[in-house]
Amino acid sequence: MGAARRLAAGHRGLLLSLCAGAGIFLAWRVLGMPLPGAPGRLIPLTWALAGVVLWDRRLPPAAIIFLCAFAVLAPLWAVHRAVFLLAGASAAAGALAVAAEGASGGRLRLVLALLALGPVILATVPFTGDEPHYAALSESIVVDRDLDETDNLHYRDRTAGVSRQTASLSGGVSHHQPLMSLLVAPGLPLGAAGMRAVSLAMAAAASLLLAGVLRRSGCSRPFRAAFLACALMPGLGILGTLYPGWVAAGLLCLGVWGGLRGGRAGAWALAAAVLLMPLLKLRFAPLSAGLFAALVLYSAPGRRKRLLVWAAVLLAAVLAADRGVLGGRLFWIRYGNVDALLVLMHRTRAAAGSIASAPLAALVDAEVGLLPRAPWIAAGLAGLGTLWRRRRRVAVWLGLPAAAYLVVLFVWLPQTWHSMPTPAGRLMVPVLPLLAASAWQLLDRRGGGSVLITASLAAAGAYVFSPGLRFNLADGTDALLSALMGPRAAAAALPSMIRPDALHMAAAAAAAAALVWAAASRPKRLPAVLLLSAALVGGAGALAPDGWEAEDLEPAMRRGCRLYPLSPDPLARYFWFGGQQRLLRMGHADDLIRLPVPEGADSVRVGIVARAMGEDGVPVAVECGGDTVHMSLRTGLVEAPAWVGGIRRRRDVRVAAEPGNLADTAAAAVLAAGADSVSVRVERTLQPPEGLYLDRIMVEGVGCSR
């Protein structure tokens, strides 16, 4: 009895975690909450596993707060889907908070804390995006001994397979480099889950290296900080999935560790990081360049010359080997040709505005912005100055690779740097070591920043509970916000680069600046500034012109009609010249949109922003009661941007005649308000691709009498 009491007294955190897990499991069942088989089991399991990692430490206050939130919200789950989502997110966030506290106990506990997240990641995160390609390539290397992935992925499932991706080359050359696939190959016998488990183990190794770097940056709790970098967004988005981001972050930390340590071991670590990074994915080559730049910077003048000569020789040897032995698969076929250089030259000049605004979008955009889904990033930005002042060498070793990576990312991929529809922030993972090191310069001090971590845990909890919400489709609305408040309110909550609104984006920029300022200078005011920022951004969104985005119309407001393109995958829309939003096609005589007339209006003004595609124009009827306005709409193709002509090396380039390349056209009709709704329809059936492609529709009351 006494031994049991001592055990209970010494392991109160473990016991409370186990009890909390059991309580969540039982509450889920007693309350009849949906999805009892997956999150209803896996979240309690995560609490239990995190409790084992916690062992003799106390349950953290954040976990208690989240547990209370679950206790309050769970009985109300049937009231609204948003309440169910919040209840599940609270339960998951509590488990993350427990694991984070457990991870602070040392290296082993950090690894165990990350592995504790394994079941919920492996079982619930959709296996999609680039993951099947890495898996297929892995099988191709191990089983077929080639790099052609298109005849693979039958290892566990005969019906599975992948088709050639954009940028995959002829002759069986995959879009992906083989190193990542080679690394996850040990998990191949267990299928996707096995390969993901290997990926999670590699992320755990990366977190150990990150903890080492954080210790050198002066962080007092490096293991907890490293865990949070992995388990909060954006790191969580690809944690334990078949993406190379965490391996690259680990290699970067290895290189930084080697650079800071010096000596023979340090040199080997640095060389390994620099050489392996491009083999993982050519996108990571700037990280190698940044590491090398830091090495040159901190070398003696005489050694600098030798280093540069050796680097030039090595680079030449690699490129020669690529050309002579590998047939150009690594670099030459894709980038070592005139067309690639022309694209870089012409497109960069034309897309200068997009490239300049990309860093702001990367912070505040509704679908990919880091700050809304990971508020701790505000501390990361605010702490850069402190890191520079206190640990300049660490700042340089982490900062140069991160800066080189971001510049190349935004310049080389001006349209796809965000990587939608894959998890938001995926391509920002290599920057996390820098952001974590700078964030913990501020988060370590008393009285500040805990609200940022708690808010980030809450967001991460939502993405653990409902992993599908981390995938956005470049349609202007965030999946998580839409699940909470519907697409229309979600669109007003945060600005979008897909649906640009200068005022909304400016308000978000001001809010982000205020948040960073508060994190740096007024940490105790952070909660108030957080609220102020949210109110500012939401208010600016509410000031936007009233109307409906056609693709967001609820089913009750439209009969028939179909979204264009039918597939939500944004890849097809990235290269439209007429704007990247999804459109609503009206092409059947029975397709109809019905919108409410503002109360008290004598007449209504119906504004349509659309693309009309038809030989003789598209006949459209706008009706309200007995009043009907007929119009025939036709819109032309947009002109090809100058850079396209530059690449094709001729002036008269015509863009493909498809709806995505038509110019947006505005039309308006004023009708007497003879009914409580106004309807829009096409007057005859049109064969695709002909039709009316609606972008936006506005109904305004004119001459209100009441």
């Binding site: 949906p34 609204h80 889907r81 939401g538």
Partner: protein, 263 residues
């Protein structure tokens, strides 16, 4: 009498939040929710560092974001409860209680009646720990006292259709769970509709849901099946026939539906 310790930043936050919320409220939120928000937010911001007060403000996002009915009422009631459980003074707690009461007077917080009594008692208790314990116990008692609080009157959820050559296709998957409205499939003309359905989450063989038309009603049992129904009225409805009982999670999934010969 001394004013509560408002510093400039929280006061600015309060004013800006109120302005932002007013803008959002003008887009459709009802006056009761707006009143509840105002009172509870004023109370919440009287102590800027208390996480309960911060959570109270966050809870108020939903009603202002266009989520209406019982969900919004519950959010306001929860917000008032969080202020009642915070370390705010008696005046602020009483103000929050008043904010919470507004939604109960509105009659939209069905199923949360016991929470009202708990809120009223908790708001005046002197110790914060006792207030919090009572509020948590009160929430645990909600399902025991009157079942799960459900949403207020809801309209049927329309399933999006697509028109093709003489046929109509309805896009799935769409699900009906406890507390969610039935699904409505609009038909252009009388005829046969095929529905690809799945159901489950119960511990017996009885019907989980029903497919209803003006001509017939067919039960949907556990498992996956394709049902064929006739209608002449222009609609088909899919409903859930189970209410809340502990240890069941009834659900009906509509994976898709179509008219004509489409398999």
């Amino acid at each position: 009498m001394r004013m509560p310790a408002f510093s400039r930043v929280p006061l600015a936050a309060l004013l800006a939040s109120a302005a932002g919320a007013a803008l959002l409220a003008l887009r459709g939120a009802e006056w009761q929710l707006w009143a509840g928000w105002g009172i509870a937010a004023a109370a919440a911001l009287s102590r800027e560092r208390d996480p309960w007060c911060l959570a109270a403000c966050v809870a108020l996002v939903l009603p202002q974001a266009g989520v209406g009915g019982t969900a919004a009422s519950a959010a306001v009631a929860l917000s008032a409860g969080m202020v009642a459980g915070s370390r705010a003074g008696l005046a602020a707690r009483t103000a929050a209680l008043a904010g919470g009461l507004v939604v109960f007077l509105d009659g939209r917080a069905g199923g949360l009646s016991i929470w009202l009594a708990v809120l009223a008692v908790a708001a005046v208790l002197p110790r914060a720990g006792a207030r919090r314990a009572l509020l948590l116990a009160g929430m645990a008692a909600v399902p025991l006292a009157g079942g799960l609080p459900g949403p207020s009157s809801q309209q049927a959820r329309v399933v999006q259709e697509r028109y093709g050559e003489g046929e109509t296709v309805w896009e799935g998957p769409v699900s009906v769970r406890v507390g969610e409205p039935e699904l409505l499939l609009r038909c252009r003309e009388p005829g046969t509709v095929f529905l690809d359905l799945g159901a489950g989450g119960v511990r017996d063989e009885g019907p989980v849901g029903l497919v209803v038309t003006d001509r017939m009603a067919l039960p949907v049992t556990s498992g996956r099946e394709t049902l064929q129904v006739r209608q002449t009225s222009g609609w088909v409805m899919v409903t859930l026939e189970r209410g809340y009982t502990p240890r069941t999670h009834p659900v009906v999934h509509l994976f898709g539906a179509w008219t004509g010969d489409r398999p």
